[in-house]
Symmetry: C2
Subunit: 338 residues, 2 copies
């Protein structure tokens, strides 16, 4: 049964088990500082497909299939697939799972989609709706550039606050039973927070206030300090948004920095020309399902807050002068000693 | 607690209560045969807004606010908003709830979004994750035409199998407690079914096999015949898809027709030039939250299967030659005598 703790935090009594996970990334992401910790790095970002959109779906499919394989599971062991991406009508996810023969629930939380799927998945497993399910998300630099910005061949210049959409996908399998040592203990679904940011090249600024709202509420609800966790990670505020988040906490007299990281800041090295860092649904999905959960399995991280952040907007809404709202969903994952 | 019955049907022991509901529609929908049974009919489809996208979000916001008002509820009584629409990055729903200050979970199930949100909402309420939540969905003829087909001013001709995207929105509030007589008893999340249909002007044919898969599984799981329900309604196969669904059941020796309707077929009259009938997330949302739930409250319908159908595709996926997959999520709603 799910209990509510404090204002808005959900506490899972049975603690859904993270049965397995996998991350698949593009060449640039594989060349980055986390490269060795992904399960799959493609040599060719087209993945042998005819379009970037199909390449993205192939990447997400790869992550799901590898997660299942690592957990010695088949597709028919799954009760649901919770998946999403940034493409119009979420076609990256639909095409990745169209032949899965598994009930499918499309999720849209912009770049917070992985956290949304994981939090929702934990609720479904805990409540008895599913015995096992997968949460997955993806993004692809080339499909995102075409849709949100300019055709690649145009060679557009990027502003320093702009983030680089990651070519990446992650998938995590949750179950009600299993011998895994990683368990989801809490979740918090975020509100949209909108403070007037209208610059689509500065998503970090648009998302940071939502991350602050969610993380502050979570810490308050759990009566916890940042140091009660080994790692609090947002995904993906990038360098600009991460700085704003730290500043917002500092105003409350709270120093998040000793345990804080951001998936967008971690993904690319300084020399990789990714400006403010990585972004896209696949960025936080792959950093979680690759390095972070590996570090939990090895015992380096014992208590993790994964706070997925998203920017609610579209090229149409931005062109029409509408503000960009941030959203942030958080999941607490703990490692129990066997 | 949620139990699994048969293959895939979820059974709700505590049966989440449908606390209130409202439907808001455009002028053409108000002129149709169901016009008098919607809570709000606009005289101006622009809703006083500067763009069709903002008009759609205003329509969804209207439906949510009216549902809350009818239930004597405030926004801060809600733990979650589960919402979705057809616009790129689901901006109709994000803009409708950006100032709500309520945790927000974006859903994408194409035209099945209302059923997906309602089924998921029932799981969240039953499992203890939410005390009260709203599920909502919208579509707008003008924002959809611009995005999916042609600019309105082009005056494009429509094929006879094409459906007419409804200007409509619906919202339903679910709660764990309450004096309401309408309760969600079962839900079934659907698989994507794809049989090679690539014609974006014949969505009914693309969606009917998924509706068949979901409804056949539901009837089998509940060991029920169509006559065990007062109404089995799909939303929205339109005339073409509804005929295919009846034919598929007839091949199993099952006659669905005595209790079967389709929201897309019900919404517009024959003289309204809507070709194969209505479609869009708002069509089934408004027909459910307007006439169908009113008929349940009055006792005309006591046991309803609401089976939302969606076509997974985008203009990009269709242009790239990808097939259109159907999906169908079902919810069973019962009226208990006071």
């Amino acid at each position: 049964m799910i209990e509510r703790t404090g204002q808005r935090t959900l506490k899972f009594g049975k603690k859904p088990v993270l049965l397995s996970h996998a991350a698949a990334v593009g060449k640039k992401e594989g060349d980055g500082p986390l490269g060795a910790q992904f399960d799959y790095v493609t040599e060719d970002d087209r993945m042998g497909e005819k379009s970037w959109e199909l390449a993205e779906s192939r990447l997400q499919k790869t992550a799901i299939e590898m997660a299942l394989k690592k957990g010695a599971l088949q597709k028919n062991d799954l009760d649901f697939i919770l998946a999403g991406d940034l493409l119009n009508q979420c076609i990256g996810s639909f095409l990745a799972s169209v032949d899965s023969n598994v009930p499918y629930l499309g999720q849209y939380g912009a770049c917070s989609t992985m956290a949304q799927g994981l939090a929702l998945g934990a609720c479904l497993v805990e409540g008895g709706a599913a015995r096992r399910l997968v949460a997955s998300a993806s993004s692809h630099f080339c499909s995102a550039e075409r849709q949100y910005r300019f055709p690649l061949a145009y060679g557009g210049q990027r502003t320093p606050t702009a983030q680089w959409t990651a070519t990446a996908a992650g998938a995590a399998v949750l179950g009600c039973k299993g011998s895994g040592s990683l368990r989801v203990t809490h979740a918090l679904f975020g509100k949209m927070v909108e403070l007037g940011v209208k610059d689509a090249n500065n998503m970090g600024a648009a998302m940071a206030p939502a991350a602050y709202d969610t993380l502050k509420t979570l810490l308050d609800d759990l009566d916890a300090a940042p140091r009660d966790f080994d790692c609090i990670v947002t995904g993906d505020l990038g360098h600009v948004g991460a700085d704003i988040l730290l500043t917002l906490f500092r105003q409350d007299g709270i120093d998040l920095s000793p345990v804080y990281s951001d998936c967008g800041s971690l993904l690319f090295g300084d020399e990789q020309d990714a400006h403010a860092g990585g972004s896209g649904c696949g960025c936080s999905a792959a950093v979680l399902c690759g390095p972070l959960l590996r570090d939990m399995q090895s015992g380096k991280i014992k208590r993790l807050v994964f706070a997925g952040t998203g920017a609610m907007m579209s090229p149409t809404s931005v062109q029409q002068g509408q503000p960009i709202a941030g959203i942030c969903h958080a999941v607490v994952i703990e490692r129990s000693e066997a």
